[in-house]
């Protein structure tokens, strides 16, 4: 219960919230770079709704952190240096070569594969959070899952169609999937605090969530006749603050204006 939490329990709550918030925030940031550049106008519009929804989800988590005394949601999202971030490697990877304003060479196949894997993993976690011992997390999970259904349907449709349309699109998707899975080692990990988090019953065990994820993706992979990917061991673990320079440049861009005057109201 919120009113009688021990410092140990609170620490576990914060760890979980930072992971959830940073994941959705970075995922949404990558989506926002795509805005206006999707292969089809109608899809651009639909994709942006998903990006906005996801930033809304990040905001829900950052607001819970704010309520726990961690600082304002805006500064949590924008000012924390890379070492303090808990997002997975997958969401910090750039969309492709090139800066979003100049000549980005973004690959839609990679976007679809990443968004499909990320969204199904998110679904597995959100379902697991519905039984969290921390009521505010439970409530947020229920809220988020209402919008997540559409995200999952959207990316499953794209993933399935591109994997089955032509030989070329299939081979592009297989390659993209490989890229994505290579980075997905920490996606369903809780990092070094895993025991503490699970002991506090904030979320199910990593193994149980992986089971949930497999149950979600198996029908799709069977339908497209592609072997279900095996999530590797993490190369680096974002949950423990291990990140690439891609995250540094993302943080610089996202906070450029905000950072220009921290005391100002924007």
């Amino acid at each position: 219960m919120t009113n009688e939490i021990t410092p140990e329990y609170k620490k576990a709550v914060l760890t979980v919230l930072y992971q959830l918030a940073d994941d959705d925030y970075l995922f949404s940031y990558r989506g926002s770079e795509w805005l206006g550049l999707a292969p089809h106008i109608e899809e651009d519009v639909a994709f942006s709704s998903i990006t906005q929804d996801t930033m809304g989800h990040a905001k829900l988590y950052y607001t819970l952190l704010e309520e726990l005394g961690e600082g304002s949601a805006d500064s949590l999202a924008q000012l924390r240096p890379k070492e303090e971030r808990c997002n997975s490697l997958l969401v910090e990877r750039p969309n492709g070569e090139g800066y979003y304003k100049e000549a980005p060479n973004y690959d839609w196949g990679y976007a679809v594969a990443r968004n499909y894997i990320y969204t199904t993993a998110k679904k597995a976690k959100i379902d697991a959070l519905k039984a969290s011992s921390y009521a505010p997390i439970r409530e947020v999970a229920v809220k988020i899952s209402t919008e997540l259904y559409y995200h999952q349907m959207h990316w499953t449709t794209w993933f399935t169609q591109l994997c089955t349309a032509t030989e070329e699109s299939r081979s592009r998707m297989m390659k993209a999937l490989q890229e994505v899975i290579k980075d997905a080692g920490d996606l369903l990990s809780f990092g070094k605090s895993v025991k503490h988090i699970t002991a506090c019953e904030l979320i199910e065990s990593e193994v149980a969530i992986k089971e949930r994820w497999l149950a979600i993706v198996t029908p799709t992979f069977e339908a497209v006749e592609i072997a279900i990917p095996v999530l590797p061991d993490p190369i680096i673990n974002g949950r423990d603050g291990q990140h690439t320079d891609d995250l540094t440049s993302a943080i610089e861009t996202m906070s450029e204006v905000y950072r220009s005057d921290l005391a100002a109201s924007w």
Partner: protein, 118 residues
């Protein structure tokens, strides 16, 4: 035969509430119905409630040409088809000290007979 195109035209219809009719929204381009469905709501109903969506490939729609729209015209002489042609009953029923069962009255009977209990 025409070359297959990614740009298939789909007409989008949606229902705002469970009791409302489907309403035409707009059209979008998509390669197939599944894709049209996952784009429809966010393209045309981002700011309003929706409870259901239909997408229809335009090649399955049949409409009237401008000339054939003349087939829709008719004379204004069909009172016998509407309540307008039976308005005189009001006076008749008044004579028998009864009220006329007009549209407003009859359609109000849908409330599970509650009105009769009065």
């Amino acid at each position: 035969m025409e070359k297959q195109s990614f740009y298939q035209e789909f007409e989008v219809f949606s229902k705002r509430t469970p009791t409302s009719n489907f309403q035409h929204q707009f059209s979008l381009l998509a390669p197939n119905g599944e894709m049209a469905l996952v784009m429809a709501q966010e393209n045309f109903m981002r700011r309003e409630p929706v409870v259901d969506i239909w997408v229809v490939n335009r090649k399955h729609l049949h409409g009237l040409t401008q000339v054939n729209k003349q087939a829709l015209q008719r004379l204004d002489n069909k009172d016998y088809r509407t309540t307008k042609g039976y308005g005189y009953l009001k006076k008749k029923w008044r004579h028998y000290e009864q009220v006329m069962l007009d549209e407003k009255e009859i359609l109000s009977w849908g409330g599970g007979g509650k009105k009769d209990d009065k």
